[in-house]
């Protein structure tokens, strides 16, 4: 009998074993009502997504519709500030304003291959919801997005976008009324209508095969980075790659083709909220314990009794009490360096980038930028930061921060 905690993929961090485990984390902890759907996905996702015709359509859409490749931009003034070489992988320049669309383009094609007629999704900041609504409009397929009531309030422009794109936005009113509850609601909606519906999960979380599937769709980020960096510097390998982590999809994409390049330091940045130990934080690797949430075993912020706690972050996209199993494994194995940035540090980093480079980043991405200040770089280092999204959606928060300052 196979021990489920033994990786079958010895020597690579990239792939989980056949049961969806990255080291001690992963799996598919789902009620029987979802078994058929998840099993259908598990047995077919690789065969479908690596089919030549699928790859062609996926790559064509990424190129012509999403606007890829996104630039790898040497941020000179930011580099000067940190006395090193900092490149920004400009996922903010994707259609819909964030990396989320890489995954939704892939999953909508997959859903159509599986013969599904309806899409459901969850969203925190709204970026994944918008990206899902977009691809559903593109393919003329019904779309329902679950979003925490609190997030609906704080991310109003994205709610309007989803509606304009024809999606139905359903408020999640249970629990903390944020991303975790939107995810619960979406999973339940899937249980209620399993045959015709595909659930597009927006991060590297959920039951196997979602973490692996989403990481593969997002891996276009590091795939491009490698050849772009080669063009610019002569080598494909930077010294550091950095990305913010809520569930961790942009980080998984940014890390993917560097996971087994042990010379490249992988830096994941979580949201510390008001401070890691303030009781108002979303720094899962620091505060979490192994547990099961949304269908996989990972690190989860929870009480001693195993009740999931409400996280806090100024950025709705990082406000999640778990982290994808790949990241839990990177953390536990020491392959990844996990840092955290507070709300204030991230706001400061957002204003800093706006002034130094003329780029307003999403609050999520600002966490990765804030962590630059916690690092010690050599002048010769080459650092790639995933700028996962743009800050238009966060203007209200930025305006509030400016009012306080003025």
């Amino acid at each position: 009998m196979i021990n489920i905690t033994t990786p079958l993929n010895k020597g690579t961090y990239k792939q989980p074993n056949i049961f969806g485990y990255y080291g001690n984390f992963g799996g598919a902890y789902i009620p029987e009502m979802l078994h058929r759907n998840v099993e259908e996905l598990r047995t077919r996702y690789l065969e479908i997504m690596y089919d030549d015709a699928f790859q062609k359509e996926f790559k064509d859409l990424l190129h012509d519709y999403v606007g890829r490749p996104t630039p790898l931009y040497l941020a000179k003034r930011l580099s000067k500030l940190h006395n090193t070489n900092i490149y920004l992988k400009r996922e903010d320049l994707n259609h819909t304003g964030a990396h989320k669309i890489n995954n939704t383009v892939g999953q909508i094609l997959l859903a159509l291959k599986l013969g599904k007629k309806r899409i459901i999704a969850e969203t925190g900041a709204g970026q994944h919801g918008v990206a899902t609504a977009t691809v559903c409009a593109l393919k003329g397929i019904e779309c329902v997005v679950y979003m925490g009531s609190k997030d609906i309030e704080r991310q109003a422009p994205n709610v309007a976008r989803m509606k304009m794109l024809g999606a139905k936005v359903v408020p999640a009113t249970s629990g903390s009324q944020t991303l975790k509850d939107a995810t619960n609601e979406a999973i339940r909606a899937w249980i209620n209508d399993p045959l015709d519906t595909h659930y597009i999960i927006g991060s590297v979380v959920g039951p196997h095969p979602y973490p692996d599937m989403v990481a593969r769709f997002q891996s276009i980020i590091s795939e491009e980075t490698r050849w772009q960096l080669k063009e610019k510097t002569g080598t494909e390998l930077p010294t550091h790659v950095m990305a913010c982590v809520g569930g961790g999809s942009n980080a998984a994409g940014m890390f993917y083709h560097y996971l087994d390049e042990l010379s490249v330091q992988l830096v994941a940045v979580e949201a510390a909220g008001h401070g890691v130990n303030s009781g108002m934080s979303a720094a899962t690797t620091q505060l979490g314990k192994p547990g099961i949430l949304h269908g996989s075993k990972s690190l989860v912020m929870q009480t001693e009794d195993g009740q999931v706690v409400e996280p806090h972050s100024i950025s709705a996209g990082l406000d999640y009490p778990g982290v994808g199993p790949l990241h839990a494994h990177l953390y536990e194995s020491g392959r990844g360096t996990f840092l955290s940035a507070t709300d204030d540090e991230s706001l400061k980093a957002a204003f800093e980038l706006a002034k130094l480079e003329g780029i307003i980043p999403a609050l999520e991405s600002a966490h990765a930028l804030a962590a630059l200040h916690q690092m010690k770089f050599k002048q010769s280092d080459v650092v790639v930061v995933c700028l996962s999204g743009r800050g238009d959606k966060d203007l209200a928060t930025y305006m509030k921060a400016m009012d306080i300052k003025e």
Partner: protein, 256 residues
């Protein structure tokens, strides 16, 4: 012979399993609710351990869980409440809950406490059969607990056989693809239940989800050994000041 085995040997038809949430409506009402259920005709009690993120439950049961958590319920508190419960409760009692709180309590310690109480069986809907076979089943069996798997209309025949072979006590037939408390039409379920009936499974079958009154209970019982009622009973308890009376009225409406 354990209590579940004894029950299904003695009673092969119209077995009524009622779900209640531990610590609901009040923290200390757990035993009172169970006693009232037993005294008014429930053959079996499914005691829910509240969880913040219950994937398979609908809004009514989730709300009862949230209330129970606010009341201060935890697995620790529950086992304290169950310390002497066998002095009053003789019907089989199974615990239903989600993996995460059980893991935090300690899986083996949990099974040991269940055996000590004694609890008769477990339903953990998010414990997959693969993890049961490789890691947890052996511990559950070591403590003499029955483990009940769910099957749905979407479960393949081959898989139903497998889950039946792994289950002990009974097999939980989810009536339709839904969360608890859904209002879906019951009639297509009959074909599925007939299919199950013809499979000659090792375990008795109880039908759950969507059973809310005499009519649906009767329909379920005509194709299975009995049925499980949850949401409808939790709704009945919602505003009650008299648990015993409310439970009597509720169970009479089903059984009489």
């Amino acid at each position: 012979m354990n209590r579940l085995e004894e029950l299904f040997q003695r009673k092969k038809e119209r077995v009524l399993n009622v779900y209640c949430t531990a610590g609901y409506p009040q923290l200390d009402s757990t035993i009172k609710v169970m006693k009232a259920l037993q005294d008014n005709g429930a053959d079996l009690i499914e005691l829910g351990m509240p969880y913040s993120d219950p994937l398979a439950d609908g809004p009514v049961i989730q709300a009862s869980g949230s209330k129970a958590l606010e009341n201060g319920m935890s697995i620790d508190v529950l086992f304290q409440q169950l310390k002497d419960f066998r002095k009053e409760i003789y019907v089989p009692v199974i615990l239903m809950g989600y993996m995460n709180p059980v893991l935090q309590f300690g899986f083996e310690k949990f099974c040991q406490y269940c055996a000590d109480a004694p609890i008769d069986g477990l339903i953990l809907p998010d414990l997959p059969e693969h993890e049961f076979e490789t890691e947890y089943g052996e511990i559950i069996q070591r403590y003499g607990l029955d483990f009940i798997f769910l099957v749905t209309p979407e479960t393949s025949e081959e898989r139903i056989k497998k889950l039946d072979s792994l289950s002990r006590g009974f097999l939980y037939a989810v009536s339709s693809s839904s969360i608890t408390g859904s209002d879906k039409d019951f009639s297509p379920v009959e074909t599925y239940l007939e299919r199950l009936q013809k499979m000659n499974l090792k375990n008795p079958i109880l039908v759950g989800f969507g059973i809310k009154d005499k009519h649906t209970f009767g329909m379920a019982c005509s194709h299975a050994n009995g049925a499980i009622i949850g949401t409808a009973y939790i709704k009945a308890l919602e505003n009650t000041t008299d648990i015993e009376r409310t439970t009597k009225i509720f169970l009479d409406s089903i059984l009489k």
